[in-house]
Amino acid sequence: MSAAPPLPVMTDLTAEFYGHLAGGTLHLQQCTACGTFRHLPRYLCPSCHGDGWAWQACSGRGEVLSWTTTMRPLHPAFTDLPMTLVTVTMAEGPRVLGRLVDVAPEELRAGMPVVIAPKTVAEGLAIPEFRVAPA
């Protein structure tokens, strides 16, 4: 039996990010001044220093940049192993970290197309999780 999963602290920008994801669609911050997408959430646009943003609904599609498959428990809440974590470059540019499910470790490769499938981990709270994109 695993321990309760650690959850994000739902304040400020983190609450906004996860609030959108709970609706089932990945939203990323887009600068209203220069149009640059960003993640992790920030108050200023690192490109133009604009302080306005919109939460844009994203395609949810991306490609695997890198990964690790965890074989031994490193945290009491994550004992269903092996577990593959991936860094995904989203179609909009920013990269999102999450678990990739339904893939055998030997099938992992850089550039593998994946799609986000938000996973509900608590009432009203979903986190990024990925599946291999259908061909």
Partner: protein, 370 residues
């Protein structure tokens, strides 16, 4: 013993080694973790602490603190700076201590707590594996390259009576047989977790304490950060780390480069981080570390002995302060059975958090320079 007790024991020894009294210390650079300069000063009887600062970059903090200490003693802000570091990492991981500490708060940054940990990316080897995997994609990698680092550290530990792994030699076959923890890291790619502390005293070169031993000079030092420092995923070049920026600054300050080093003490939280820092510190080009570590080249007697004390992997996890202490011993000529002959220059690196970096160039009187 608490972190504070461990650091106090080490501080008293370092101060005595410098030929000083505790009250000669007038500045403290504290590492991360639980201990404050104020607590240290209260215990050491420092009635007039002229300066204190905390470097909050994990295992990069001790070497980065050398830079701060250099700035303090060369500007006259302080005369003798104490840099203690350590932690009771083994004791605090025991189940009873874990429950007692449950409300003590996490040292992890919000980026990690809010965006990595909920997904199951809870531990440093999982974060760093993303860089290791990417490096392998670009340049290829063999398990034996990682293993060569682990084997070299273990070999050096056999010559260090303070090393936890003394008396426990390890072969490449042992390494390859150890279980995978999170790919590509095996158990023997991961540093030890120990209760340990160390301390360093920095003074100006003309301070009386500098005559207590053969002089060891801090010729150059620098700190650097990847961008963004708090998120390993969203970096334009994911292989660029703090050391990439810091190393050229330290070499320029010192007028000494990586080609001049007689040994290096590289922060070895995990084996890949040693390969990566060998490249980013300029000992070879990016992608060449695998060839660099093969054939015993980083072992004592090789072209560039690395972590002659056994490092975090085989001596103890002292947050990198032991890398500085070992460099000083080598440059004083007091490293005993693991002494590198004829040394003049040593390079020490630190690595912390999500790739923050630090580097120091140290020399003795055999090598002229700043």
């Amino acid at each position: 013993m608490s972190d504070l007790q461990l650091m106090l024991v080490a501080s008293l020894r370092a101060i005595a080694d410098a030929g000083l009294k505790p009250t000669d210390i007038d500045a403290i650079m504290t590492p991360v973790m639980s201990v404050s300069s104020e607590e240290l000063a209260a215990n050491l009887g420092l009635s007039d602490m002229a300066w204190s600062v905390k470097s909050n970059i994990g295992g990069a903090a001790p070497v980065a603190s050398l830079l701060g200490a250099m700035m303090a003693v060369t500007t006259g802000v302080a005369r003798a700076v104490l840099i203690p570091a350590g932690l009771n990492g083994f004791s605090r991981m025991q189940p009873k201590a874990m429950s007692a500490r449950a409300d003590a708060g996490s040292p992890l940054p919000p980026s990690v707590l809010d965006y990595y940990v909920p997904a199951g990316s809870t531990a440093p080897p999982q974060w760093y594996a993303m860089m290791a995997r990417l490096h392998a994609e670009r340049f290829g990698a063999s398990e034996e390259a990682l293993g060569a680092v682990a084997v070299a550290m273990r070999k050096h530990a056999q010559l260090n009576d303070k090393a936890l792994m003394r008396g426990k030699p390890m072969s490449m076959a042992d390494y390859l047989a150890s279980p995978l923890i999170t790919t590509p890291y095996r158990l023997l790619d991961c540093c030890l977790v120990t209760d340990a502390a160390g301390a360093v005293v920095v003074t100006a070169a003309d301070h009386p304490a500098a005559r207590t031993h053969p002089r060891v000079y801090l010729s150059g030092a620098a700190e650097g950060h990847p961008y963004p420092a708090d998120d390993i995923s969203n970096r334009a070049d994911p292989l660029t780390i703090g050391l990439t920026h810091a190393a050229p600054r330290a070499y320029a300050m010192a007028g000494i480069g990586p080609e001049d080093a007689d040994f290096a003490q590289i922060y070895d939280c995990f084996t890949f981080e040693v390969l990566q820092q060998i490249e980013e510190a300029g000992f070879c080009r990016r992608g060449e570390a695998e060839a660099f570590v093969h054939g015993g080249r980083i072992e004592l007697g090789g072209a560039l002995p690395i972590n002659t004390h056994g490092g975090l992997l085989s001596e103890a996890h002292v947050m990198g302060i032991s890398h500085i202490i070992e460099a000083v011993r080598q440059l004083r000529g007091t490293a005993g059975a693991r002494q590198v002959e004829g040394v003049g220059v040593g390079i020490v690196t630190g690595w912390g958090d999500l790739g923050d970096g630090s580097i120091a160039v140290l020399r003795n009187d055999r090598r002229a320079g700043r």
